[in-house]
């Protein structure tokens, strides 16, 4: 008996993996049911829905970007100081003094752009495949809110490096929000904590970026994934209406006799 086989027989291994390697139907079911990550899936999926050309995997890629951003974001948080001029100095330090600093920052930046694009394309895929149709209406609404949160996450993160690019992009962006009819000055105060972007704006946006918006995103993602299952799983063509089928055949038959 090999060492590995012996290890698989120990109480420790069996306490972690409840089933054998999933190469039999029974274990292919159990692996999905027993794993916290895999159990987001149903045990079986429609064959037509696993084609890459149907979904392009965009929903999954959005989640992947979110995970990459969480990991790299935590790495950046170890070093980042939400203060003026500490924020900019920590960016500089990240580039020179921190192991994997530039890599983590680059990855965070590119994955952030990637997530906005992935979420946007995912929404477009869902639209063009008609997957928002009943009974999936409300999950589409949640998806629209998730798109908004994704953009806000990216936008709040944009200010944090506190360089010229960040400062003036946020200046332009928040000037748009300032002119909200009726409640403009309140929006400005809520967003900037003052009349202009300053150190307190940075703290506010940092808090939004690292805790409030990610938590909101996680909560809504949980509902989004849950509802995919509850609304009947991934969308597939609905059966043709029988009457319509009949009509179509009649119309065809009529057409043939006419000719």
């Amino acid at each position: 008996m090999s060492l590995w086989a012996r290890f698989k027989n120990t109480t420790l291994y069996k306490s972690i993996y409840r089933n054998e390697y999933p190469d039999t139907p029974r274990n292919q079911v159990l692996v999905i049911l027993n794993s916290v990550v895999l159990h987001l899936h149903p045990v079986k999926v429609p064959r037509r829905a696993v084609r890459v050309s149907y979904t392009w995997g965009l929903g999954g890629l959005s989640l992947l970007m979110f995970l990459m951003l969480t990991v790299t974001g935590v790495w950046l948080m170890f070093y980042y100081v939400p203060a003026v001029p500490g924020a900019y100095e920590s960016m500089k330090a990240l580039d020179t003094d921190v192991i994997f600093g530039p890599f983590a920052r680059n990855l965070h930046r590119w994955a952030a752009h990637g997530m906005v694009i992935a979420v946007w394309l995912h929404m477009t895929r869902v639209f063009y495949t008609g997957s928002y149709k009943p009974p999936r209406e409300f999950n589409w609404v949640i998806g629209v809110v998730l798109f908004l949160i994704t953009v806000l996450l990216s936008f709040t993160g944009y200010l944090l490096p506190w360089d010229q690019l960040a400062y003036w992009a946020i200046q332009v962006g928040s000037n748009m929000a300032k002119v909200t009819p009726v409640i403009g000055s309140y929006v400005q105060m809520a967003l900037l904590d003052g009349y202009d972007i300053g150190p307190s704006t940075l703290v506010r946006w940092y808090t939004l970026h690292v805790i409030l918006l990610p938590l909101a995103c996680i909560a809504l993602m949980a509902v989004h994934f849950w509802r995919i299952r509850k609304d009947g799983g991934i969308s597939t063509p609905i059966p043709y209406d029988e009457d319509e089928e009949e009509q179509e055949e009649l119309a065809l038959a009529a057409g043939e006799t006419n000719e």
């Binding site: 149903p42 696993v50 960016m91 530039p102 928002y132 003036w168």
Partner: protein, 253 residues
């Protein structure tokens, strides 16, 4: 013989009544695809992060305004609108309305037929292509017109449709405050409602579009607008947000 009611010309696979979906095990059929995609994407992003550095310019300086100052790329479509109309309209009302209208789609198009099929009907793809071209042509034309329109006699340095309308109305003796909203709010609103409206009317007439197909036209309008306006804002707006060619753009200092 009475005309048969317009059939729902669904494209793609047809599922017969009571036909069961062919199912496959998630492990390995879906899990393997997910794993391959995840690994590929992680590798691609890791490679990019290794070789392409995220930008970091000089420390923020409120006294030194770059020219042009641009928002993040996903807001450049809105910043482009900002050039042509009232800021409250471009910056708040348009994006707010867009999100609300997006969320409303499934409550307007309630017909389940066409679910799970790319473009749903035989007309879906032609309508998408038509709507995209229609939107792109009109919007690019409007941006170009707004860049050059200027009447002789207008004050130095003023141009654009909005200023021209204000100038013309002022000639009738009306005060500036009363007429400036015509150019900056009324005309943009008419265009922003009118362009998709006319599109919906065209696809209804030309393609006998049903609700789903009208939705396809309107979403395509929204999607194309986002791409066209963001691309103009990103690649064609130079100093003082004037139109330039992409190769004339100065990298931000």
């Amino acid at each position: 013989m009475a005309e048969a009611p317009e059939k729902y010309q669904q494209t793609g696979p047809k599922v017969k009544p009571r036909q069961k979906e062919e199912m496959v095990y998630t492990w390995p059929f879906l899990v393997s695809i997910e794993a391959i995609m995840a690994i590929t994407m992680i590798l691609a992003f890791a490679l990019m992060a290794t070789f392409v550095d995220a930008p970091l310019m000089d420390m923020a300086n409120p006294d030194k305004t770059p020219n042009p100052a641009k928002a993040p790329w996903y807001f450049l479509g809105l910043q482009e609108l900002l050039l042509h109309m009232d800021p409250a309209l471009a910056g708040v009302i348009v994006p707010g309305a867009a999100l609300v209208l997006l969320a409303m789609i499934p409550y307007i198009d309630r017909d389940r037929r066409g679910t799970g099929i790319w473009f749903s009907t035989k007309k879906g793809l032609p309508i998408t292509i038509f709507s995209a071209i229609y939107t792109a042509v009109i919007e690019i034309a409007l941006v170009l017109v707004d860049e050059v329109v200027r009447l002789p006699g207008m004050p130095e340095g003023s141009y654009r449709i909005s200023a021209t309308v204000t100038y013309l109305l002022e000639q009738t003796g009306l005060p500036t405050a009363a007429v400036s909203w015509v150019g900056s709010i009324f005309i943009p609103l008419v265009l922003m409602i009118g362009i998709p409206w006319v599109l919906a009317v065209i696809v209804k007439r030309r393609y006998q579009a049903n609700t789903r197909e009208v939705m396809i036209a309107l979403y395509t309008f929204f999607f194309t607008s986002f791409i066209v306006l963001s691309a103009i804002g990103t690649f064609f707006r130079g100093e003082s947000m004037h139109l330039v060619w992409p190769w004339e753009l100065q990298p931000p200092q």
